[in-house]
Symmetry: C2
Subunit: 134 residues, 2 copies
């Protein structure tokens, strides 16, 4: 199996899937950063998403225009902009999670005990490799 093919195809598939929600993969990902947990500054978001600040500016602008997030100025530091998800934004992310979790549950249900053990073991391996290679 060609590695590039595999990841690119996965990406393209996610892209199409996300479009059902009316959000591109990048917007979805950025939104999911603020959907739960504390609000983030725009710069934080850019760092989390490993994207330049101008790119994040644009993503947030689109999300704001469509009512998924809101921006709020910091009282103390006039340079900061805080990004928060709206109720609508949280709903979209929640819905996506629900779908994926249904999908996964369906497949996990078909696995026997041995398979599940193997899965847990491999997840640990993957995480170790991921950590080591930054």
């Amino acid at each position: 199996m060609r590695l590039h093919g595999a990841v690119l195809h996965l990406m393209r598939r996610i892209r199409r899937e996300d479009l059902h929600f009316g959000l591109s993969a990048s917007r979805m990902s950025a939104l999911s950063c603020v959907a739960f947990g504390t609000p983030r500054t725009l710069g934080d978001l850019a760092a989390m998403e490993q994207v330049s600040r101008p790119t994040m500016t644009r993503l947030v602008a689109a999300l704001e225009r469509d009512g998924y997030v809101e921006k709020r100025a910091d009282r103390r530091d006039g340079r900061l902009t805080w990004i928060e998800a709206t109720a609508r934004g949280r709903r979209v992310i929640e819905e996506g999670r629900r779908r994926r979790s249904t999908f996964l549950a369906g497949h996990l249900a078909g696995l026997n005990e041995r398979d599940r053990t193997a899965l847990g073991r491999v997840i640990a391996i993957m995480e170790r490799i991921y950590e080591k290679s930054r």
Copy 2:
């Protein structure tokens, strides 16, 4: 772990990695389709890469311009264009494989027998799920 984040970040990382070869991820992937094995028509490539034909036209044009592939007309059917990798194109793909395989070998070497068994088992599970969900 957020799914979108995970795949997007993996994608971005591959993109940066590929740029070391002077080729984008999409070009790399298309090139890898023709690097070994039989030549492909442009339409076949588009289908394999799950991309529209106009998009593949452009990818191939870029690869040809940079000397990674060559186009050849079909004698029988004037509509077909066959795409073949040049020696240079094959070299690039080979080099990429070599790198990844070194990377993987390094990590696999650190695994014990149980881990390796689990890995094989999980790969089978993944392939099953992938097949089922088209």
